[in-house]
């Protein structure tokens, strides 16, 4: 059972490494979005510090969104998805593998990049640390929930826009608790509660979303 998950992760990671441009475009999008705000607002440090959690989290959210349409589209186009659906292994486990692989090439690098971008907003070291931790904890939920949207919009014309409309509202709780964790650190309340809720969302998202996405994929394949 675990074997099929690791095989899927290994395959998707290998494919992602052969297409570094996809990974780079997600990261550069995040860098650009997060850099536009300090440039637009100007050197008002107090204002920037207040905006930072929200802006960085929205940036990470949109960057994750950007990479979602490709999650199943390539496999659908070349017929691999049919083969996955016909495998005797549960499709949900393979989707779980794809979700984890997606996180490894989008959520993880975004989290590692976030503290560097946070410096532009003059965030304190402890806030930078919590920012990284919150993105690290929250992005798996984004990949999981996104997989449902990607499955539902698979093969639709203009699916990309529909995907954002479907998925972004579902991202709101993650955004609130993610940005809230950094806010709470800045205001001295401590991020514990927010981070726990974020972790709960991720556990729920990663555990249940692949099975919902698998059902969506089976419908898309009919």
């Amino acid at each position: 059972m675990l074997g099929i998950v690791t095989h899927t992760i290994a395959r998707d990671l290998r494919l992602a490494l052969r297409r570094p441009a996809d990974l780079a475009s997600v990261l550069f999008f995040f860098i650009i979005v997060a850099s536009l705000f300090p440039l637009g607002i100007g050197p008002e440090l107090e204002l920037l510090r207040q905006l930072a959690p929200g802006v960085l989290w929205v940036g990470a959210l949109l960057a994750t969104m950007l990479s979602l349409p490709r999650l199943f589209a390539d496999d659908h186009r070349d017929g691999t998805l049919e083969q996955l659906a016909l495998s005797p292994n549960p499709l949900g486990l393979m989707v779980l593998g794809k979700v984890i692989a997606h996180w490894l090439v989008s959520g993880l690098p975004l989290a590692l990049l976030a503290p560097v971008l946070g410096l532009q907003f003059d965030l304190a070291p402890d806030a930078l640390w919590v920012l990284t931790l919150s993105i690290l904890l929250g992005t798996p939920a984004l990949s999981g929930i996104g997989a449902i949207g990607a499955g539902l919009t698979l093969g639709l014309r203009g699916g990309g826009v529909l995907l954002s409309l479907l998925v972004l509202p579902l991202y709101i709780p993650v955004l609130i608790f993610g940005a809230g964790a950094v806010d709470a650190t800045v205001s001295g309340l401590g991020p514990g509660a927010h981070l726990s809720l974020l972790a709960a969302l991720t556990v729920g998202g990663v555990a249940f979303a692949p099975w919902a996405a698998a059902v969506a994929l089976k419908i898309a394949l009919e």
Binding site: I4, R11, L15, R18, D78, G79, T80, E82, S87, M94
Partner: protein, 205 residues
């Protein structure tokens, strides 16, 4: 072994076929024929369980394939008209990855042997995007060399192949039938497959 009863397929508001049924036993081959758009691919996808028939039932070893689900898929090898290979991966990686994802164990030596049989030895480390259409098809077909699952469902397997490859594939399918396997396939070209019993099914009139 494989039985279909009274299948009906509706695409949009058009009825593609109805009342289609057949019975296929071990070692038998079913040739599915019909003009373009008669519903051959739709029928094959139904037999795989990828789509549900409007009415009728498909049984494998006497049990409905919907009920069997995983057990049926463990006996099934489907090759669609899409190759299901990744352009970024090499033929060898493609072969190994597809075997693993299908839940089979394929050693690297076996995979190399399969690639040798389809005439791709020497190109096993070249990304598939640099291969020709026919060579990509051969990568997809290389799966069949070591395939021991009893039911093969092949959608236009001979497309884009040269004469030698067509003869080779006919031999592979023949050997599979000889081992007591079953095969359902569609093709538009006349191919001589060495099989004990060949059944024909024509869709549409």
């Amino acid at each position: 072994m494989l039985e279909a009863q009274d299948l009906e397929c509706i695409r949009g508001d058009r009825r593609l076929f109805h009342g289609v049924g057949f019975r296929l036993d071990a070692g038998e081959l079913l040739f599915l024929q019909g003009r373009n758009g008669a519903g051959k691919t739709s029928l094959l996808r139904m037999l795989c369980g990828l789509s549900q028939p409007e009415s009728g039932e498909i049984r494998w070893k006497g049990e409905s394939i919907r009920r069997l689900s995983d057990d049926f898929r463990a006996d099934l090898c489907y090759l669609g008209h899409l190759n299901a290979i990744k352009e970024e991966l090499t033929p060898l990686e493609n072969l190994l990855a597809s075997a693993r994802l299908a839940g089979e164990s394929l050693s690297e030596d076996d995979a190399l042997d399969a690639l040798e049989q389809v005439g791709l030895l020497g190109r096993e480390d070249l990304a598939c995007r640099y291969l020709s259409q026919g060579q990509k098809r051969r990568v997809a077909l290389a799966r069949l060399v070591k395939e021991r699952r009893p039911l093969w469902i092949l959608d236009e397997p001979f497309v884009a192949l040269d004469v030698n490859a067509v003869a080779w594939l006919a031999g592979i399918i023949g050997a599979h039938l000889q081992r007591g396997g079953l095969a359902v396939l569609t093709t538009h070209q006349p191919v001589d497959i060495p099989a004990g019993c060949v059944r024909q099914l024509r869709l549409g009139t």
